[in-house]
């Protein structure tokens, strides 16, 4: 219980970011929906098109909608220049505002359609202009219904805003995603509790305003509005009140090693007086684009990943040559600096349980190919789309009976429970030893090299102070140390938080 409260109390920055994001998205939604609703109430074709569009948007899963804004904003850079952020607040704001549109629009249009025709005729009859009619009659009479729509939109938005974490916008999704990846249920619970609590409080306050409007009790409506404004002001103060310091944004993809390494680097920078923020749970492609576009400052990435996914290369050169070419390519294409190797490799490998390996006499991927049609292979959500898998599959002629996707942590559970017979394991993963797994040999050399490397965004590439603060972590972490730290976070009992594991790792490697 103590851990839960500690986790909850530590969510201040995420809560304020969540409040500001949700409030901005709802405000933008209102700003767009209300004029549209007025237009729609005067023109049935407009009503059909706008409501149809808003309903269509609702059918897109929130996660996909958030992700879609990345390529959209990226292509808009052609118009608005390179300064246009493609990750973080802006895309989250746009996606959530779109999401908030429907309930507000629908309620506003319905309210307008249900206005008493006698009252509207009287408004014309006494000589109101269109604007006076809207201001004096239609708006006040529709207000309680519109408020109900805003309430619905707010509850949806606050819930969906947790997904903004995946596109690099801090929110109450941070603890949920981090907890999910590291199987830290206390963290997940704290995030859910905070986000649900925020939604309930908002709903109650907006309900107060709605009732005040419906029963024409001005005090009630104004009191509710004041409470909402106060909450937003507090969030604003928490977010910006401390004075904007030079913040270093450290990105992490959605698995334990990334969380631990981000904290390891963050702790060092904090000790040097930097303000540090983490952007956790980024997708592989999003994370790389984020660092090369400057939306985040630092990222630990892997040579093989960049080679196959970003550079679209299918050849497999020697380790040194690949590293040199990647450094060159990053420098040429975006100005991103490859500062150096972390010191270990986290390769993809195909792993099976030792008892299965013994029973089936499996030593290499080539052995696996013969019996693959009878087996199920599990991979992380990206794995079966990645060029590395396609290369391995084609090199060995792998045809598995079934391909299944799991979140990285659940992949090992699936292997243990027999739901998968082979998985796409990570070689730095502590569970390989802990779960007594065998990583099959790759005699054809189909999997590329996956040295962990530290990337510095183009904006920070010339920042000598920052680079000198980072240099000590280069080439210090061997794969055993990394495995131990990963396992400390991933194991089922006696788990460490990524922060704690990072401290342990730093001590072990002498940082």
């Amino acid at each position: 219980m103590n851990g839960f409260w500690n986790a909850l109390m530590g969510l201040g920055p995420q809560l304020s970011a969540h409040v500001l994001l949700s409030a901005s998205a709802i405000a933008l939604g209102i700003l767009v929906a209300l004029p549209l609703a007025v237009w729609a109430s005067r023109s049935p074709p407009v009503a059909r098109v706008t409501l149809g569009f808003a309903s269509l948007v609702q059918t897109i899963p929130a996660l996909a909608l958030l992700a879609l804004f990345f390529p959209i904003l990226l292509s808009l850079r052609a118009v608005f220049g390179e300064g246009l952020p493609t990750l973080g607040f802006l895309p989250a704001l746009l996606a959530l505002a779109l999401y908030a549109l429907l309930p507000i629009l629908r309620n506003a249009v319905t309210a307008q359609a249900n206005l008493d025709p006698g009252v509207l005729e009287a408004a014309d009859g006494v000589g109101m202009t269109k604007w006076q009619k809207l201001k004096l009659i239609e708006a006040p009479l529709s207000a309680p219904f519109i408020m109900a729509g805003i309430r619905t939109a707010s509850v949806w938005t606050i819930g969906a805003a947790t997904l903004a974490t995946t596109i690099g916008q801090p929110s109450l999704g941070d603890p949920i995603f981090a907890g999910l990846q590291t199987q830290n249920w206390v963290l997940v619970l704290a995030g859910c509790f905070a986000s649900a609590g925020l939604a309930l409080i908002t709903d109650a306050l907006l309900g107060l305003i709605e009732r005040g409007m419906a029963s024409r009790k001005r005090g009630l409506a104004i009191g509710g509005m004041a409470a909402v404004a106060l909450g937003i002001a507090a969030a604003l103060f928490a977010q910006f009140g401390g004075g904007e310091r030079d913040r270093i944004l450290i990105g992490a993809k959605g698995f334990s090693e990334q969380y631990v390494l981000a904290r390891l680097i963050g702790q060092r920078l904090k000790a040097k007086g930097y303000a540090v923020e983490y952007r956790d749970g980024l997708g592989s492609a999003v994370a790389h684009s984020a660092v090369s576009s400057g939306d985040i400052d630092l990222l630990v990435d892997y040579t093989g990943t960049i080679w196959a996914n970003q550079m679209k290369r299918s050849d497999n050169p020697a380790r040194e040559q690949m590293y040199a070419e990647i450094s060159e390519w990053e420098q040429q294409t975006s100005g991103t600096k490859v500062l150096g190797r972390m010191g270990f490799e986290n390769a993809y490998g195909l792993a099976v349980r030792r008892d299965v390996a013994d029973a089936r006499n499996l030593n290499s991927i080539a052995d696996l190919a013969n019996i693959a049609p009878q087996l199920t292979i599990g991979g992380d959500p990206e794995f079966f789309e990645r060029p590395e898998w396609i290369a391995v599959r084609d090199a060995y002629g792998l045809r598995f009976g079934q391909n299944r996707n799991f979140a990285p942590t659940f992949m090992y559970n699936a292997l243990r429970s027999g739901e998968a017979d082979a998985i796409s394991a990570y070689t730095s993963d502590g569970r390989i030893a802990a779960d007594n797994l065998v990583v099959l040999d790759d005699p054809a050399g189909a999997f590329p090299n996956y040295d962990a490397i530290l990337l510095v965004s183009p904006d920070r590439a010339e920042d000598a102070a920052l680079l000198s603060a980072l240099t000590p972590v280069i080439d210090t972490i061997d794969v055993d140390a990394m495995r131990e730290a990963n396992y400390a976070v991933d194991r089922d009992t006696d788990k460490l938080t990524p922060d704690e594991a990072a401290r342990m790792l730093a001590t072990r490697v002498g940082l």
């Binding site: 025709p117 408004a123 009859g125 006494v126 000589g127 004096l136």
Partner: protein, 279 residues
């Protein structure tokens, strides 16, 4: 061109108009007006003048076009062809909101604004032109429609149907209108309220020298209140008579059909009364 101006209203005569169109005592003139709704002809094309200070009843069955004709005056309906002149000007050339503020409008569903109290409802017309009704003026208007002054702070949903329509009439009078348009104003009221409010409106009409057009399907009401009755049928005016002339049998078959109903009722009641007193 030196016409004796019997009424203190300024009448301008424009090029192309005949003098009879703008006779100083005609405040409204319909010139060859028609109104089509797709295939349906609501108003079939005729000219008509309404004298200043007259109380005109437009009587006819549902769908005879009487409401449509009246609403062309304050721009709630537009003629398909033809022109409607009000106080010497074509109504289609004026901003509708400005035009309507000079014209009182009372209609069956009343349309009190549910979020405004009685005083705010009555004061809405002046408010639209940036003025505020004084409490004294609100009291005076409430008095005119025989309501207590303490009604001013009530909300519409706290009033009876009759009280609401009284507020509706007060609202129509608040801006000192030149013209009062009423569309089935008493249609939803109980007979006693209906009679009382009808009589009151006629008194106010006389008191303020208003010009009034009242649409009704009730010939008895028209005969009792108006000094000119127009009977409409299928978009045309089939009779244009005084109440006395109608009661004397003029106006043709359709008009007499409408007059026959209240007359038969009155005769029957009178007979019942006689027979009752005999027994």
């Amino acid at each position: 061109m030196a016409l004796p101006l019997a009424f203190p209203r300024v009448v301008s005569i424009k090029r192309g108009e005949t003098i009879s169109d703008t006779l100083p005592d005609s405040v409204i003139h319909f010139r060859a007006v028609t109104r089509h709704f797709d295939d349906v002809i609501a108003v079939g094309g005729f000219s008509l003048s309404v004298a200043a200070g007259s109380f005109v009843a437009l009587v006819g069955a549902s769908g005879s076009g009487k409401s449509t004709l009246m609403k062309m005056v304050n721009g709630l309906e537009q003629p398909t062809t033809g022109q409607v002149m009000f106080a010497g000007e074509d109504v289609s050339t004026q901003p509708p909101a400005k035009l309507r503020r000079r014209i009182g409008y009372v209609f069956q569903s009343i349309g009190l604004f549910p979020h405004m109290n009685v005083a705010e409802n009555i004061g809405i017309g002046p408010r639209l032109s940036g003025q505020r009704l004084s409490d004294g003026r609100v009291r005076e208007l409430l008095e005119l429609v025989e309501l207590d002054a303490d009604m001013a702070s009530r909300m519409p949903d706290e009033l009876s149907g009759g009280q609401r329509q009284r507020v509706g009439v007060a609202r129509a009078l608040a801006n000192y209108p030149e013209l009062l348009l009423m569309d089935e104003p008493f249609g939803a009221l109980d007979p006693i309220t209906r009679d009382a409010l009808g009589g009151r409106v006629r008194e106010l009409h006389d008191k303020f020298g208003l010009t009034t057009i009242m649409v009704t399907h009730d010939m008895a009401e028209a005969l009792l209140l108006a000094d000119r009755v127009l009977v409409m049928d299928a978009g045309l005016i089939v009779a244009d008579e005084t109440p006395a002339a109608l009661l004397a049998g003029k106006g043709g078959e359709i008009a007499q059909g409408l007059v026959a109903v209240p007359r038969a009722q009155a005769d029957k009641l009178a007979r019942m009364e006689r027979e009752g007193s005999r027994s």
